[in-house]
Protein backbone atom coordinates (compact mmCIF):
# COMPACT_ATOMS: atom_id res chain seq x y z
CA UNK A 1 0.00 0.00 0.00
CA UNK A 2 1.38 3.40 -0.91
CA UNK A 3 1.13 6.40 1.35
CA UNK A 4 0.64 10.11 0.86
CA UNK A 5 3.71 12.24 1.50
CA UNK A 6 3.86 14.46 4.56
CA UNK A 7 3.86 18.11 3.53
CA UNK A 8 3.52 17.48 -0.24
CA UNK A 9 0.56 19.87 -0.45
CA UNK A 10 -0.53 22.98 1.42
CA UNK A 11 -3.64 25.02 2.00
CA UNK A 12 -3.10 28.42 0.39
CA UNK A 13 -6.58 29.91 0.51
CA UNK A 14 -9.34 29.60 3.09
CA UNK A 15 -12.51 31.61 3.64
CA UNK A 16 -15.97 31.45 5.10
CA UNK A 17 -19.02 32.63 3.19
CA UNK A 18 -21.52 34.86 4.95
CA UNK A 19 -22.68 33.02 8.06
CA UNK A 20 -25.68 32.94 10.38
CA UNK A 21 -28.95 33.72 8.64
CA UNK A 22 -28.66 34.82 5.02
CA UNK A 23 -31.20 36.55 2.79
CA UNK A 24 -34.23 34.69 1.55
CA UNK A 25 -33.69 32.88 -1.78
CA UNK A 26 -29.92 32.63 -1.26
CA UNK A 27 -28.81 29.23 -2.56
CA UNK A 28 -26.08 27.01 -1.11
CA UNK A 29 -24.24 27.59 -4.40
CA UNK A 30 -24.30 31.38 -3.86
CA UNK A 31 -22.54 30.79 -0.53
CA UNK A 32 -20.01 28.41 -2.11
CA UNK A 33 -19.24 30.85 -4.92
CA UNK A 34 -18.85 33.72 -2.44
CA UNK A 35 -16.48 31.68 -0.27
CA UNK A 36 -14.54 30.55 -3.35
CA UNK A 37 -14.07 34.18 -4.48
CA UNK A 38 -12.83 35.10 -0.99
CA UNK A 39 -10.48 32.07 -0.87
CA UNK A 40 -9.03 33.03 -4.26
CA UNK A 41 -8.46 36.59 -3.03
CA UNK A 42 -6.87 35.12 0.09
CA UNK A 43 -4.15 33.38 -1.98
CA UNK A 44 -4.00 35.49 -5.15
CA UNK A 45 -4.86 32.66 -7.55
CA UNK A 46 -7.30 33.17 -10.43
CA UNK A 47 -10.45 31.16 -11.00
CA UNK A 48 -8.89 29.73 -14.15
CA UNK A 49 -6.13 28.21 -11.99
CA UNK A 50 -8.63 25.80 -10.38
CA UNK A 51 -8.31 22.40 -12.05
CA UNK A 52 -9.54 20.18 -9.21
CA UNK A 53 -13.04 20.42 -7.72
CA UNK A 54 -14.32 18.85 -4.49
CA UNK A 55 -17.83 19.51 -3.21
CA UNK A 56 -20.39 17.83 -0.99
CA UNK A 57 -23.64 19.62 -0.19
CA UNK A 58 -26.65 18.02 1.46
CA UNK A 59 -29.08 20.29 -0.37
CA UNK A 60 -27.50 19.79 -3.82
CA UNK A 61 -27.47 16.14 -4.82
CA UNK A 62 -24.99 16.50 -7.69
CA UNK A 63 -22.77 18.97 -5.86
CA UNK A 64 -19.62 18.96 -8.05
CA UNK A 65 -21.74 19.39 -11.19
CA UNK A 66 -23.73 22.25 -9.73
CA UNK A 67 -20.70 24.19 -8.53
CA UNK A 68 -18.84 23.58 -11.82
CA UNK A 69 -21.90 24.91 -13.64
CA UNK A 70 -22.20 28.00 -11.40
CA UNK A 71 -18.53 28.94 -11.83
CA UNK A 72 -18.22 27.40 -15.33
CA UNK A 73 -15.22 25.36 -14.23
CA UNK A 74 -13.83 22.53 -16.34
CA UNK A 75 -11.87 20.61 -13.72
CA UNK A 76 -9.46 17.85 -14.73
CA UNK A 77 -10.30 16.09 -11.49
CA UNK A 78 -13.43 16.12 -9.35
CA UNK A 79 -14.78 14.27 -6.31
CA UNK A 80 -18.17 14.46 -4.60
CA UNK A 81 -17.50 12.08 -1.72
CA UNK A 82 -20.36 12.69 0.70
CA UNK A 83 -20.02 11.07 4.12
CA UNK A 84 -21.52 13.85 6.23
CA UNK A 85 -19.62 16.53 8.11
CA UNK A 86 -16.25 14.84 7.69
CA UNK A 87 -16.51 14.89 3.89
CA UNK A 88 -14.11 17.83 3.63
CA UNK A 89 -11.36 16.18 5.65
CA UNK A 90 -11.70 13.27 3.21
CA UNK A 91 -11.57 15.78 0.34
CA UNK A 92 -8.25 17.13 1.69
CA UNK A 93 -6.78 13.60 1.59
CA UNK A 94 -8.26 12.90 -1.86
CA UNK A 95 -7.05 16.24 -3.21
CA UNK A 96 -3.58 15.51 -1.90
CA UNK A 97 -3.61 12.13 -3.68
CA UNK A 98 -4.79 13.79 -6.91
CA UNK A 99 -2.16 16.55 -6.71
CA UNK A 100 0.61 14.05 -5.93
CA UNK A 101 -0.52 11.91 -8.89
CA UNK A 102 -0.49 14.95 -11.19
CA UNK A 103 -4.24 14.73 -11.86
CA UNK A 104 -4.71 18.35 -10.83
CA UNK A 105 -2.61 21.16 -9.35
CA UNK A 106 -5.01 23.60 -7.70
CA UNK A 107 -7.89 22.01 -5.81
CA UNK A 108 -10.99 23.83 -4.59
CA UNK A 109 -13.01 22.31 -1.74
CA UNK A 110 -16.34 24.03 -1.13
CA UNK A 111 -19.49 23.76 0.93
CA UNK A 112 -22.66 25.76 1.57
CA UNK A 113 -25.96 25.44 3.39
CA UNK A 114 -29.09 27.51 3.86
CA UNK A 115 -30.64 25.19 6.46
CA UNK A 116 -31.51 28.06 8.80
CA UNK A 117 -33.32 30.02 6.09
CA UNK A 118 -35.21 27.11 4.53
CA UNK A 119 -35.53 24.96 7.72
CA UNK A 120 -33.67 21.80 8.61
CA UNK A 121 -36.41 19.54 7.26
CA UNK A 122 -36.45 21.31 3.90
CA UNK A 123 -32.65 21.19 3.75
CA UNK A 124 -32.54 17.42 4.17
CA UNK A 125 -35.57 15.16 4.48
CA UNK A 126 -34.87 12.11 6.66
CA UNK A 127 -34.77 8.83 4.74
CA UNK A 128 -37.32 6.19 5.77
CA UNK A 129 -35.68 3.19 7.46
CA UNK A 130 -37.97 0.40 8.69
CA UNK A 131 -35.50 -0.50 11.43
CA UNK A 132 -35.48 3.00 12.95
CA UNK A 133 -38.24 5.29 11.68
CA UNK A 134 -41.13 3.66 13.65
CA UNK A 135 -39.39 4.56 16.93
CA UNK A 136 -39.21 8.27 16.03
CA UNK A 137 -35.64 8.98 17.16
CA UNK A 138 -34.97 12.72 16.89
CA UNK A 139 -32.01 12.34 14.54
CA UNK A 140 -29.22 13.07 14.70
CA UNK A 141 -29.58 14.19 18.37
CA UNK A 142 -31.03 10.93 19.72
CA UNK A 143 -28.18 8.89 18.21
CA UNK A 144 -25.54 11.01 19.96
CA UNK A 145 -27.68 11.07 23.11
CA UNK A 146 -27.60 7.25 23.23
CA UNK A 147 -23.81 7.33 22.87
CA UNK A 148 -23.65 9.87 25.72
CA UNK A 149 -25.95 7.75 27.90
CA UNK A 150 -23.74 4.72 27.35
CA UNK A 151 -20.60 6.77 28.10
CA UNK A 152 -22.20 7.98 31.35
CA UNK A 153 -23.10 4.37 32.24
CA UNK A 154 -19.67 2.88 31.53
CA UNK A 155 -17.37 5.64 32.74
CA UNK A 156 -19.39 7.75 35.15
CA UNK A 157 -19.37 10.75 32.82
CA UNK A 158 -21.84 13.37 34.12
CA UNK A 159 -24.22 15.86 32.54
CA UNK A 160 -22.12 18.60 34.19
CA UNK A 161 -19.06 17.36 32.31
CA UNK A 162 -21.01 17.41 29.03
CA UNK A 163 -22.07 20.97 29.91
CA UNK A 164 -18.41 21.95 30.39
CA UNK A 165 -17.93 21.39 26.65
CA UNK A 166 -20.75 23.80 25.79
CA UNK A 167 -19.51 26.41 28.27
CA UNK A 168 -15.92 26.25 26.96
CA UNK A 169 -17.20 26.61 23.39
CA UNK A 170 -19.19 29.68 24.42
CA UNK A 171 -16.17 31.28 26.10
CA UNK A 172 -14.17 30.86 22.88
CA UNK A 173 -17.10 32.17 20.82
CA UNK A 174 -17.10 35.41 22.83
CA UNK A 175 -13.59 36.00 21.43
CA UNK A 176 -14.71 35.43 17.83
CA UNK A 177 -16.58 38.32 16.17
CA UNK A 178 -18.07 35.91 13.62
CA UNK A 179 -19.68 33.69 16.24
CA UNK A 180 -23.48 33.42 16.25
CA UNK A 181 -23.74 33.36 20.07
CA UNK A 182 -22.85 36.62 21.82
CA UNK A 183 -23.85 36.04 25.46
CA UNK A 184 -22.06 34.10 28.22
CA UNK A 185 -23.33 30.64 29.18
CA UNK A 186 -23.12 28.77 32.50
CA UNK A 187 -23.21 25.07 33.34
CA UNK A 188 -26.54 25.62 35.14
CA UNK A 189 -28.00 27.23 32.03
CA UNK A 190 -26.98 24.21 29.95
CA UNK A 191 -28.47 21.76 32.44
CA UNK A 192 -31.72 23.71 32.86
CA UNK A 193 -32.33 24.39 29.18
CA UNK A 194 -35.13 22.63 27.28
CA UNK A 195 -34.57 18.86 27.18
CA UNK A 196 -34.30 17.59 23.59
CA UNK A 197 -33.26 13.94 23.83
CA UNK A 198 -32.07 12.81 27.26
CA UNK A 199 -29.33 13.50 28.44
CA UNK A 200 -29.11 16.44 26.00
CA UNK A 201 -30.74 19.80 26.45
CA UNK A 202 -30.82 22.20 23.52
CA UNK A 203 -27.49 23.62 24.80
CA UNK A 204 -25.80 20.24 24.36
CA UNK A 205 -26.73 20.42 20.67
CA UNK A 206 -25.02 22.33 17.87
CA UNK A 207 -26.52 25.44 16.34
CA UNK A 208 -28.56 25.45 13.15
CA UNK A 209 -27.22 28.23 10.94
CA UNK A 210 -26.60 29.05 7.28
CA UNK A 211 -23.11 29.31 5.92
CA UNK A 212 -20.32 27.73 3.97
CA UNK A 213 -16.70 27.97 3.08
CA UNK A 214 -13.95 27.23 0.61
CA UNK A 215 -10.42 25.92 0.86
CA UNK A 216 -7.78 26.02 -1.89
CA UNK A 217 -4.98 23.48 -1.87
CA UNK A 218 -1.95 23.19 -4.12
CA UNK A 219 1.47 21.55 -4.31
CA UNK A 220 4.05 22.61 -1.72
CA UNK A 221 6.22 24.04 -4.52
CA UNK A 222 3.47 26.29 -5.88
CA UNK A 223 2.24 27.19 -2.40
CA UNK A 224 5.55 28.93 -1.65
CA UNK A 225 4.95 31.41 -4.51
CA UNK A 226 1.59 32.66 -3.17
CA UNK A 227 0.42 35.45 -0.86
CA UNK A 228 -0.03 33.73 2.50
CA UNK A 229 2.26 31.44 4.46
CA UNK A 230 1.38 27.90 3.36
CA UNK A 231 -0.34 25.60 5.82
CA UNK A 232 1.04 22.15 5.06
CA UNK A 233 -0.93 18.93 5.21
CA UNK A 234 1.26 16.82 7.47
CA UNK A 235 -1.09 13.89 7.94
CA UNK A 236 -4.54 12.59 7.07
CA UNK A 237 -6.59 9.61 8.16
CA UNK A 238 -10.01 8.45 7.01
CA UNK A 239 -12.27 5.80 8.52
CA UNK A 240 -15.91 4.77 8.27
CA UNK A 241 -17.89 2.81 10.82
CA UNK A 242 -21.59 2.51 10.04
CA UNK A 243 -24.35 4.54 8.37
CA UNK A 244 -27.21 4.15 10.87
CA UNK A 245 -26.81 4.35 14.64
CA UNK A 246 -28.44 0.90 15.01
CA UNK A 247 -25.33 -0.54 13.41
CA UNK A 248 -22.68 1.16 15.54
CA UNK A 249 -20.76 -1.69 17.16
CA UNK A 250 -19.55 0.05 20.31
CA UNK A 251 -21.31 3.30 21.23
CA UNK A 252 -18.34 4.64 23.21
CA UNK A 253 -15.60 4.06 20.61
CA UNK A 254 -15.73 5.83 17.26
CA UNK A 255 -13.79 5.25 14.05
CA UNK A 256 -11.66 8.24 15.12
CA UNK A 257 -9.65 5.52 16.90
CA UNK A 258 -8.65 4.44 13.35
CA UNK A 259 -8.41 7.78 11.54
CA UNK A 260 -6.33 9.41 14.30
CA UNK A 261 -3.44 6.91 14.36
CA UNK A 262 -3.31 6.99 10.53
CA UNK A 263 -2.99 10.78 10.57
CA UNK A 264 -0.39 10.81 13.37
CA UNK A 265 1.66 8.09 11.65
CA UNK A 266 1.76 10.04 8.38
CA UNK A 267 2.49 13.33 10.14
CA UNK A 268 5.21 11.86 12.35
CA UNK A 269 4.27 14.19 15.19
CA UNK A 270 3.48 13.54 18.85
CA UNK A 271 0.29 14.47 20.65
CA UNK A 272 2.21 16.97 22.78
CA UNK A 273 3.27 18.78 19.56
CA UNK A 274 -0.36 19.58 18.68
CA UNK A 275 -1.07 23.12 19.87
CA UNK A 276 -4.74 23.35 18.95
CA UNK A 277 -7.58 20.92 18.31
CA UNK A 278 -10.53 21.58 16.05
CA UNK A 279 -12.94 18.74 16.94
CA UNK A 280 -16.34 18.47 15.30
CA UNK A 281 -18.73 19.35 18.14
CA UNK A 282 -22.14 18.38 16.84
CA UNK A 283 -23.10 17.58 20.43
CA UNK A 284 -21.26 17.97 23.74
CA UNK A 285 -20.35 14.27 23.79
CA UNK A 286 -18.38 14.41 20.52
CA UNK A 287 -15.26 16.34 21.65
CA UNK A 288 -15.13 13.98 24.68
CA UNK A 289 -15.22 10.90 22.44
CA UNK A 290 -12.67 12.36 20.02
CA UNK A 291 -10.21 13.43 22.74
CA UNK A 292 -10.26 9.79 23.85
CA UNK A 293 -10.28 8.11 20.46
CA UNK A 294 -7.56 10.38 19.04
CA UNK A 295 -5.37 9.54 22.03
CA UNK A 296 -5.33 12.84 23.96
CA UNK A 297 -6.63 11.04 27.06
CA UNK A 298 -7.40 7.43 28.00
CA UNK A 299 -10.78 5.91 27.08
CA UNK A 300 -13.37 6.94 29.62
CA UNK A 301 -11.41 9.96 30.89
CA UNK A 302 -12.84 12.47 28.41
CA UNK A 303 -15.43 13.86 30.81
CA UNK A 304 -12.82 14.59 33.45
CA UNK A 305 -10.41 15.89 30.79
CA UNK A 306 -12.79 18.68 29.72
CA UNK A 307 -13.72 19.69 33.28
CA UNK A 308 -12.62 22.74 35.21
CA UNK A 309 -12.36 24.88 32.07
CA UNK A 310 -9.45 22.84 30.76
CA UNK A 311 -10.50 23.19 27.09
CA UNK A 312 -11.71 26.79 27.50
CA UNK A 313 -9.57 29.92 26.90
CA UNK A 314 -6.65 29.78 29.31
CA UNK A 315 -7.12 26.04 29.85
CA UNK A 316 -4.70 23.17 29.32
CA UNK A 317 -5.60 22.43 25.68
CA UNK A 318 -7.13 24.82 23.16
CA UNK A 319 -10.17 23.07 21.66
CA UNK A 320 -12.57 24.63 19.14
CA UNK A 321 -11.26 28.18 19.42
CA UNK A 322 -13.86 29.48 16.92
CA UNK A 323 -16.61 28.62 19.40
CA UNK A 324 -17.35 25.42 17.49
CA UNK A 325 -20.58 24.07 16.16
CA UNK A 326 -22.06 24.68 19.59
CA UNK A 327 -21.55 28.47 19.65
CA UNK A 328 -19.87 29.77 16.45
CA UNK A 329 -21.85 28.41 13.50
CA UNK A 330 -23.14 25.03 12.34
CA UNK A 331 -24.44 25.06 8.79
CA UNK A 332 -25.27 21.36 8.39
CA UNK A 333 -22.08 19.58 7.39
CA UNK A 334 -19.81 21.79 9.46
CA UNK A 335 -16.47 20.05 8.74
CA UNK A 336 -15.20 22.66 6.30
CA UNK A 337 -15.39 25.33 9.01
CA UNK A 338 -13.66 22.94 11.44
CA UNK A 339 -10.75 22.87 8.98
CA UNK A 340 -10.73 26.64 8.42
CA UNK A 341 -10.27 27.42 12.12
CA UNK A 342 -7.28 25.04 12.36
CA UNK A 343 -5.77 26.59 9.22
CA UNK A 344 -6.17 30.11 10.64
CA UNK A 345 -4.58 29.11 13.93
CA UNK A 346 -1.49 27.80 12.09
CA UNK A 347 -1.37 31.02 10.07
CA UNK A 348 -1.64 33.08 13.26
CA UNK A 349 -4.73 34.95 12.07
CA UNK A 350 -6.97 34.39 15.10
CA UNK A 351 -6.49 37.70 16.90
CA UNK A 352 -7.89 37.53 20.48
CA UNK A 353 -8.34 33.76 20.38
CA UNK A 354 -4.96 33.05 18.78
CA UNK A 355 -3.07 30.12 20.33
CA UNK A 356 0.60 31.04 20.83
CA UNK A 357 3.21 29.32 18.63
CA UNK A 358 0.52 27.29 16.91
CA UNK A 359 2.77 25.43 14.48
CA UNK A 360 0.68 22.26 14.53
CA UNK A 361 -3.12 22.01 14.64
CA UNK A 362 -5.41 19.02 14.29
CA UNK A 363 -8.82 19.14 12.62
CA UNK A 364 -11.14 16.23 13.15
CA UNK A 365 -14.37 15.71 11.24
CA UNK A 366 -17.36 13.60 12.16
CA UNK A 367 -20.14 12.65 9.77
CA UNK A 368 -23.61 11.15 10.03
CA UNK A 369 -24.33 9.64 13.44
CA UNK A 370 -20.75 9.12 14.67
CA UNK A 371 -20.44 7.30 11.33
CA UNK A 372 -17.47 8.66 9.38
CA UNK A 373 -14.34 9.98 11.07
CA UNK A 374 -11.56 11.83 9.24
CA UNK A 375 -8.53 13.55 10.73
CA UNK A 376 -6.18 16.15 9.24
CA UNK A 377 -2.99 17.44 10.88
CA UNK A 378 -1.76 20.81 9.63
CA UNK A 379 1.66 22.33 10.14
CA UNK A 380 3.50 25.58 9.48
CA UNK A 381 6.75 25.84 7.53
CA UNK A 382 8.64 25.31 10.84
CA UNK A 383 7.35 21.74 11.00
CA UNK A 384 8.74 20.58 7.64
Amino acid sequence: MSHLKRGSVAVVGAAESDLGKVAEHTSPLDLMAQATRRALDDCGLKMSDIDGLFAAVGQVRLSPLALAEYLRLKPNYFDGTIIGGSSFMAHIAHAQAAIEAGLCEVALIAYGSTQKTVSRTAAGRPEYNYYETPFKPFLPASAYAMAAARHMHEFGTTREQLAEVAVAARQWALLNPKAWEKEPLSIEQVLNARMVSYPFTVRDCCLVTDGGGAIILTSAARAKTLKKKPVYVLGTGEAIGHATISNMENFVVTAAAESGPKAFKMAGVKHADVRMLSLYDAFTITPILFLEDLGFCPKGEGGRFVSGGDIAPGGKVAVNTSGGGLSYNHPGMYGLLVLIEAIRQVRGECDKRQVKNCDIALAHGNGGVLSSQCTVIFGSENTL
Binding site: P134, K136, S142
Partner: protein, 129 residues
Amino acid sequence: MQSLMEKSPLGIFIEHIKKGELAYQVCTDDNTPVFFPRVVAPRTGSTNLEWRVSKGLGTVYTTTVVCGKENAKWNVAMIDLDEGFRMMSRVEDIDPMEVKIGMRVKFRAHPGDEKQPPYHVFVPAGGAK
Protein backbone atom coordinates in the same frame (compact mmCIF):
# COMPACT_ATOMS: atom_id res chain seq x y z
CA MET B 1 -28.88 -17.39 -3.05
CA GLN B 2 -32.28 -15.97 -2.18
CA SER B 3 -34.00 -14.50 -5.21
CA LEU B 4 -35.31 -10.96 -4.81
CA MET B 5 -38.07 -11.49 -7.35
CA GLU B 6 -40.64 -12.84 -4.86
CA LYS B 7 -39.45 -12.10 -1.33
CA SER B 8 -37.11 -9.55 0.23
CA PRO B 9 -35.21 -9.85 3.52
CA LEU B 10 -37.38 -7.13 5.10
CA GLY B 11 -40.52 -8.75 3.65
CA ILE B 12 -39.67 -12.01 5.39
CA PHE B 13 -38.90 -10.18 8.66
CA ILE B 14 -42.32 -8.48 8.54
CA GLU B 15 -44.09 -11.81 7.79
CA HIS B 16 -42.58 -13.14 11.02
CA ILE B 17 -43.61 -10.06 13.00
CA LYS B 18 -47.19 -10.55 11.74
CA LYS B 19 -47.04 -14.04 13.29
CA GLY B 20 -45.78 -12.54 16.57
CA GLU B 21 -42.19 -13.70 15.92
CA LEU B 22 -38.92 -11.77 16.07
CA ALA B 23 -36.77 -13.21 13.28
CA TYR B 24 -33.07 -12.81 12.55
CA GLN B 25 -30.49 -14.51 10.40
CA VAL B 26 -27.40 -16.53 11.14
CA CYS B 27 -24.52 -16.84 8.69
CA THR B 28 -23.95 -20.59 8.84
CA ASP B 29 -20.40 -20.25 7.48
CA ASP B 30 -19.16 -18.79 10.77
CA ASN B 31 -22.28 -19.11 12.92
CA THR B 32 -22.62 -15.34 13.55
CA PRO B 33 -26.00 -13.68 14.02
CA VAL B 34 -26.86 -11.11 11.35
CA PHE B 35 -29.19 -8.15 11.80
CA PHE B 36 -30.62 -6.24 9.87
CA PRO B 37 -31.67 -9.00 7.44
CA ARG B 38 -29.66 -9.21 4.21
CA VAL B 39 -29.17 -11.28 1.06
CA VAL B 40 -25.39 -11.41 1.55
CA ALA B 41 -23.72 -11.82 4.93
CA PRO B 42 -21.54 -8.96 6.17
CA ARG B 43 -17.78 -9.65 6.35
CA THR B 44 -17.89 -13.24 5.02
CA GLY B 45 -19.78 -12.35 1.84
CA SER B 46 -21.57 -15.66 2.21
CA THR B 47 -25.09 -16.32 0.94
CA ASN B 48 -25.59 -19.05 3.51
CA LEU B 49 -27.99 -17.11 5.67
CA GLU B 50 -30.47 -19.06 7.75
CA TRP B 51 -33.60 -17.53 9.27
CA ARG B 52 -34.21 -18.20 12.95
CA VAL B 53 -36.78 -17.02 15.48
CA SER B 54 -35.42 -15.25 18.55
CA LYS B 55 -36.63 -16.12 22.05
CA GLY B 56 -37.36 -12.38 22.21
CA LEU B 57 -35.41 -11.71 25.38
CA GLY B 58 -32.82 -8.97 25.54
CA THR B 59 -31.08 -6.25 27.53
CA VAL B 60 -31.18 -2.47 27.11
CA TYR B 61 -27.73 -1.45 25.74
CA THR B 62 -28.47 2.28 25.74
CA THR B 63 -31.51 4.52 25.89
CA THR B 64 -32.78 8.04 25.37
CA VAL B 65 -36.03 9.93 25.91
CA VAL B 66 -37.13 12.10 23.03
CA CYS B 67 -38.95 15.27 24.09
CA GLY B 68 -41.46 16.33 21.46
CA LYS B 69 -44.04 19.05 21.20
CA GLU B 70 -46.66 19.60 23.94
CA ASN B 71 -44.64 17.68 26.53
CA ALA B 72 -44.81 14.42 24.55
CA LYS B 73 -42.02 12.07 25.65
CA TRP B 74 -41.12 8.68 24.24
CA ASN B 75 -38.37 6.14 24.66
CA VAL B 76 -35.87 5.10 22.00
CA ALA B 77 -33.48 2.33 22.99
CA MET B 78 -30.94 -0.09 21.58
CA ILE B 79 -31.71 -3.67 22.60
CA ASP B 80 -29.11 -6.45 22.66
CA LEU B 81 -30.96 -9.71 22.04
CA ASP B 82 -29.69 -12.78 23.88
CA GLU B 83 -28.89 -14.47 20.54
CA GLY B 84 -26.23 -11.79 19.92
CA PHE B 85 -27.75 -9.15 17.67
CA ARG B 86 -28.76 -5.55 18.36
CA MET B 87 -31.72 -3.50 17.20
CA MET B 88 -33.30 -0.11 17.75
CA SER B 89 -36.69 -0.22 19.43
CA ARG B 90 -38.60 1.26 22.37
CA VAL B 91 -39.59 -0.10 25.73
CA GLU B 92 -43.33 0.27 26.36
CA ASP B 93 -45.59 -0.12 29.45
CA ILE B 94 -43.19 1.98 31.55
CA ASP B 95 -42.32 5.66 32.01
CA PRO B 96 -39.70 6.46 29.31
CA MET B 97 -37.33 7.90 31.96
CA GLU B 98 -37.51 4.60 33.87
CA VAL B 99 -35.98 2.65 31.00
CA LYS B 100 -32.45 1.91 32.23
CA ILE B 101 -29.32 0.48 30.67
CA GLY B 102 -29.04 -3.19 31.68
CA MET B 103 -32.81 -3.67 32.09
CA ARG B 104 -34.12 -7.02 30.85
CA VAL B 105 -36.83 -6.69 28.21
CA LYS B 106 -39.10 -8.93 26.15
CA PHE B 107 -40.25 -8.60 22.54
CA ARG B 108 -43.83 -7.72 21.63
CA ALA B 109 -45.23 -7.23 18.12
CA HIS B 110 -46.70 -3.81 17.41
CA PRO B 111 -49.51 -3.88 14.81
CA GLY B 112 -48.36 -0.68 13.03
CA ASP B 113 -50.91 1.32 11.04
CA GLU B 114 -51.94 2.18 7.44
CA LYS B 115 -48.58 3.84 6.76
CA GLN B 116 -46.29 1.70 8.91
CA PRO B 117 -46.06 -2.11 8.65
CA PRO B 118 -46.05 -4.06 11.94
CA TYR B 119 -42.83 -3.76 13.91
CA HIS B 120 -41.00 -4.85 17.04
CA VAL B 121 -41.25 -3.20 20.47
CA PHE B 122 -40.22 -4.39 23.93
CA VAL B 123 -41.69 -4.46 27.44
CA PRO B 124 -39.92 -4.96 30.77
CA ALA B 125 -39.19 -8.63 31.46
CA GLY B 126 -38.24 -8.07 35.09
CA GLY B 127 -34.70 -7.85 36.40
CA ALA B 128 -31.48 -6.39 35.12
CA LYS B 129 -28.18 -7.62 33.80
